[in-house]
Amino acid sequence: MKKIECIIKPFKLDDVKSVLTDLGIAGMTVSEVRGFGRQKGHTELYRGAEYQIDFIPKVKIELVVADEQVADIVSAVQKEACTGRIGDGKIFVTPVDQSVRIRTGETGPDSL
């Protein structure tokens, strides 16, 4: 199994979720993060003093999938989350040794 971590622009979440469910993905976990990268933050002015907002809101989607699904998912997410503008984000794939469904105790790909 692999874990696919996608860091995307927040407003793409709905689209990416749709494409993932279309691919038959039944579960995922999402969290709010802040990203720092090529896309620069913005300068704001507060009461006459300037300051820099470095970290930009992003959404992180984590999903654990069977090895054979990885390629499809990665390419689908990449296409869907892409706006072509800087800051679109990343997809990382990492190994997963084991997975357990808490409700049933099932393990392995069946538990996903």
């Binding site: 407003f11 709010e32 913005h42 704001e44 002015l45 507060y46």
Partner: protein, 435 residues
């Protein structure tokens, strides 16, 4: 119903028995009391600007909160200045049954009273103050409806014209003693003159602006954008409810006689009961229709009751006031999805509350007030509606095709707060981009 010129008749001489009791020694007191009533009631109405601000800040998404706060306080500032520069005189000076007053700076002349002649009935300034705060209220109605997508300065330009020109001209027709007043049209505290006017201007604006992106899907799907802070919305409603005692009560325009004190008392009661009726009716309606009570509908219901009674809060018996309010509460629950069906995107329910119930309240006046007629009321509603729609459409469109009216799609997604004023209302709290 003239609002100012007939004051003395209404306030001091309406009751023959009083006229006798009120000789010279009393009239300075009456003058003071009338003035004080204007001032205190005016403060309560001024406070409604905060109520609108909090209500709207609570009902927009968190990314547009700072902007709506700024709009609400700055429009009140604009109303004050414009009403001084042109509004008051356009509304009250030399209308004489006609269609418009005169241009010119407002100025107080209290020389007669200072010389011991209290026939004016009240200090000129107290009257200006009381009329001015009403003008601000009409503007506040607009801001909530067109929120989350309109640019700041263009919105404020509209406010300048609304408070300086549109509001006073139609106001002159009734309260200034113009043609509608001559015809017998009656609007005690402004169901039509304030609330519907704000509503018509808002409606025109909402149509010209278009809906917020994502609100209406292709297949008729409606995506609600829940309000960011329901405690603020509740606080705003409480503030409005409180201020409404000044709004309606002060519109007795006098306190200098037992008759006017009694009138104010009745107005207070009816105002309160109509709010109660509107809220309870709206709560029952949503419970029945949707099986759950919606807080924002209860709040809108209370306001609906208040708007509904505003055209005639002195005459009805208490039970009738409850019913007038309750009809308003029912209307608002039906009107909110109705406007959604028309794809008119009204962020805070301003059209349902102020426009729909403003019309209902005005038409309901003849129920308790035999001196008015349904037809005249209808003419007034229609005339003012047409006038405000046309004039405000001209202004909205003029602004749209010159400086532009709406933020870009990207700015709208980002929120007006960051896009337009570069600050967030709640910078230390993590937002929820996920749902």
């Amino acid at each position: 119903m003239k609002r100012i010129v007939t004051l003395i008749a209404v306030g001091l001489l309406a009751l023959p028995s009083l006229a006798l009791a009120e000789d010279a020694p009393l009239s300075e007191v009456a003058y003071i009391l009338n003035t004080f009533s204007f001032l205190i009631s005016g403060v309560l109405v001024m406070w409604m600007a905060a109520g609108f601000g909090m209500l709207e800040a609570g009902l927009v998404r968190s990314k547009n909160v700072a902007t709506i706060c700024l709009k609400n306080i700055s429009l009140f500032g604009i109303a004050g200045i414009l009403y001084y520069l042109v509004g008051y005189n356009l509304m009250y000076s030399g209308v004489d049954g006609g269609y418009i007053g005169s241009f010119g700076l407002w100025g107080a002349d209290d020389a007669a009273a200072l010389a011991g002649d209290y026939a004016a009935g009240y200090a000129a300034g107290s009257d200006w103050f009381f009329q001015m705060v009403f003008c601000g209220a009409a503007c506040s109605v607009v801001s909530g409806c067109v929120a989350e997508r309109i640019k700041l300065w263009p919105f404020l330009i509209f406010c300048v014209v609304l408070t300086g020109i549109i509001y006073p001209i139609q106001g002159s027709w009734v309260w200034g003693g113009g043609w509608l007043s001559e015809m017998g049209f009656s609007d005690y505290a402004g169901s039509t003159l304030v609330h519907s006017v704000g509503g018509w201007a808002a409606l025109t604006g909402a149509i010209i602006l278009g809906a917020r992106k994502g609100k209406y899907g292709k297949d008729g799907k409606i995506t609600p954008f829940p309000g960011s802070n329901l405690t603020l919305a509740t606080l705003g409603t409480f503030i409005l409810w409180m201020g409404w005692f000044g709004f309606n009560g002060g519109s007795a325009l006098a306190l200098g006689s037992a008759g006017s004190a009694i009138e104010q008392s009745n107005v207070y009661i009816n105002t309160n009961l109509a709010a109660c009726g509107g809220m309870i009716a709206a709560m029952i309606m949503v419970q029945v229709l949707y099986k759950k009570v919606d807080v924002t509908m209860a709040l809108n219901g209370a306001l609906a009751g208040l708007v509904s009674i505003t055209a005639g809060p002195a005459a009805p018996a208490p039970g009738v006031a409850i019913l007038i309010g309750a009809v308003g509460g029912v209307l608002v629950v039906l009107a909110v999805p109705f406007f959604d069906k028309l794809k008119i995107d009204d962020v805070v329910g301003a059209l349902s509350v102020h426009l729909v119930c403003g019309i209902w309240g005005t038409l309901a006046v003849p129920i308790s007030n035999s001196e008015t007629s349904f037809v005249t009321q209808l003419i007034g509603v229609a005339a003012i509606g047409v006038f405000v729609i046309v004039t405000s459409a001209i202004v909205w469109l003029a602004v749209k095709y010159t400086v532009g009216l709406r933020v870009s799609e990207e700015e709208e997604y980002q929120g007006c707060d960051l896009a337009e004023i570069g600050m967030e209302a709640y910078p230390y709290f993590q937002g929820r981009n996920i749902n």
